[in-house]
Amino acid sequence: MLKIKDLHATINGKEILKGINLEVKPGEIHAIMGPNGSGKSTLSNVLVGHPAYVVTKGSVSFKEKDLFAFSPEDRSKEGIFLSFQYPVEIPGVSMVNFMRSAINEHRKYNGLEPLSASAFLKLMREKRSIVDLDVKLANRSVNEGFSGGEKKRNEIFQMAMLQPTLSILDETDSGLDIDALRVVAEGVNKLKSPTNSTIVITHYQRLLDYIKPDVVHVLYNGRIVKTAGPELALELEERGYDWIKAELGE
């Protein structure tokens, strides 16, 4: 449902993505791995339309539509969700108000009536349990005072609430201990379906023990240089990235 063709993108005039080609079909989980600076976060930010990044070449189609024709909020409403690597805090804005605005915007986009207050609270209770998110956290301001692990769980909670077609998890495992990692991964797995897809961006094999990918890509220097099955992740874990650089003749 996602087709990326020859994507080039820059930030502050510097080219980071140098021709990405990627196709994700419904029901698939793709892992994107690579060393620091390879362009992993750039790719996720470009897909969700962060204004700091400029697309200089190439195309992305999402559900047969030109993704770049949509504003960031419309891309969200079309069904793309990004779990941020560093979720930002928004003091004063309660999770409840925040989520209710988001949900109702999505519903409006799809021609649905906004949720009643009671239906919404019921939905929140239901989805909170998927990532074991404490009710106290749900009543606080967005991410305010949340620990690293709580912030990541909150990302997956929002994902559960918005039910996206394509989820992009940007280094969701960074800063998490084993237990938090397991809870987050379980949450992602519970949300998996034959009609939605996930792109998992990560450094480490660890997360992929829990979220089993169908395809693994290596992103290096702005290009996808290798694509294979899940065993590729294990090989990277064992051998690092040097052998790939060697293969490329560096």
């Binding site: 930002v88 928004i90 108000n97």
Partner: protein, 487 residues
């Protein structure tokens, strides 16, 4: 955003269409305007038109003569173009007949249409919410509702001019007792040429069962609005008073120099809330209302309580310090404020808390929001006199900056003459980051809506103090007033 309107004044339709200010219209109602200019004759005419007693005319004349000796104050953090006081008209009476209407049926239908456009259909208000409305239309009160219902409890809620006629002793006793005619340049001017306003009297032991409310607007070109409000709460009484204003699009600036005086007696409580939405000028800083107001309360009796809550989003220039004199022992005052400035608006606002009695307490929560190229200043005074044992004050002044071309300033003054006083002051400055906005975008929330969420979250503490009816309007107002400030 075009409303249907008729106006004998020249209004630039194109300008109106571009503006988001939805109250941009005038009414084709016969306005009986005195010629421009200010001199003793004009004052005598105003007094005569209101059929005022001699003592009130004397009050006006004393004030006027004092005003002639004064110079315009320039100490505020404001740039105010010179005002031509002789170029203003000081009186406008929209009533076609000499005698005002006594029931809704008798009100000029054009006026009723005006009130409906403002979103305050009087009939609906009367029937449903039980709020008594005292509508001041261009310097003269047109009607007052629920007068009779309140009168059963002995509560007086009427126009100032009616109060002068029906309750002269009360007015004479209290008028000028909190804001004397010599208080400041604009108060002196008001004391000379005040038009009309509200009078509220709550007798001993009475709890006013409904929120009292006033809506008014400035209509005719070059007419200053000089209204006066006087609220007296006798021992053991309670009243909550709402003041909400809107004004139409204007090219010339309109001066609004009002006075509000409040007297709170023993064990009594007065809550005064304002949602101010005067025309702020266009995005180039042209036009807009000048809101130079003197508001002050006297916590006269022991254990008396006064709270000021304001949401100020309009006016080209806002200059006001709703204050409280805590004379009674154990008296308390609160000041909650959200002041928004956008485009080229300016605000220099805050409060003065004067602690005189024993064990007095004051709380100040001020939230400034600056956007565009505006300048937003908080100026506050906490004064504890030598005999004011056990005084307590807590002040919190927060500024939220949106963009890098606006200004936020804080001028806190503490004048403490008693060493048992506990005075706390906290201040924060913050901005809405692009990351926060993008986070909202990625969840499907537009930037405009995100700003609204964040701003309302920031101002929540103050908005929560407003009576419910106002709170909803205030939230919408915050969002509207910041439209276009990010992007």
């Amino acid at each position: 955003m075009q409303e249907e309107f008729k106006g004998k004044n020249q209004l630039d339709v194109e300008q109106l269409t571009k503006e988001k200010y939805k109250y941009g219209f005038t009414t084709d109602v016969e306005t009986d305007i005195i010629e421009k200019g200010l001199n003793e004759d004009v004052i005598r005419i105003i007094s005569a038109k209101n059929e005022e007693p001699d003592w009130l005319l004397d009050f006006r004349l004393k004030a006027y003569r004092h005003w002639l000796t004064l110079e315009v104050p320039t100490w505020a953090h404001l740039r105010i173009p010179a005002i031509d006081y002789q170029g203003l008209s000081y009186y406008a009476d929209p009533r076609a007949k000499k005698d005002g209407p006594t029931s809704l049926d008798e009100v000029d239908p054009e006026l009723l249409k005006t009130f409906n456009k403002l979103g305050i259909p009087l009939e609906e208000q009367m029937a449903l919410s039980g709020i008594a409305v005292d509508a001041v239309m261009d310097s003269v009160s047109v009607k007052t509702t629920f007068k009779d219902t309140l009168l059963e409890k002995g509560i007086i809620f009427c126009s100032f001019s009616d109060a002068v006629k029906d309750h002269p002793d009360l007015v004479r006793k209290y008028m000028g007792s909190v804001v004397g005619y010599r208080d400041n340049f604009y108060a002196t001017l008001n004391s000379a040429v005040f038009s009309d306003g509200s009078f509220v009297y709550i007798p001993k032991g009475v709890r006013c069962p409904m929120e009292l409310s006033t809506y008014f607007r400035i209509n005719a070109i070059n007419t200053g609005q000089f209204e006066r409000t006087l609220i007296v709460a006798e021992d053991d009484s309670y009243v909550s008073y709402l003041e909400g204003c809107t004004a139409p699009s204007r090219d010339e600036n309109q001066l609004h120099a009002a006075i509000v005086e409040i007297i709170v007696n023993k064990n009594a409580e007065v809550k005064y809330s304002t949602v101010q939405n005067w025309y702020p000028g266009d995005e180039n800083g042209k036009g807009g209302v000048y809101n130079f107001v003197t508001k002050r309360g006297l916590c006269k009796g022991d254990n008396s309580k006064l709270s000021w809550t304001q949401v100020e989003t309009g006016s080209a220039i806002t200059w006001k310090y709703p204050s409280c004199i805590l004379r009674g022992d154990d008296s308390q005052a609160e000041f909650y404020s959200v002041a928004v400035t956008n485009n080229y608006q300016q605000a220099d606002t805050g409060t003065k808390m004067i602690h005189l009695g024993k064990n007095t307490k004051s709380t100040i929560i001020s939230k400034g929001i600056s956007a565009g190229r505006s300048e937003n200043s908080y100026r506050g005074l906490v004064k504890v006199s030598a005999n004011a044992d056990g005084a307590r004050n807590y002040s919190q002044c927060d500024s939220l900056l949106m963009g890098d071309k606006c200004g936020a300033h804080t001028f806190p003054y503490m004048d403490i003459h008693n060493d048992t006083a506990v005075v706390e002051h906290e201040a924060t400055t913050s901005k809405i980051s692009e990351d926060q906005l993008f986070y909202c975008n990625q969840r499907g929330i537009s930037t405009e809506e995100a700003v609204g969420l964040i701003v309302n979250g920031y101002a929540k503490e103050v908005i929560n103090k407003l009576p419910m009816e106002f709170a909803v309007e205030a939230q919408k107002l915050l969002s509207i007033s910041l439209e276009g400030s990010v992007g």
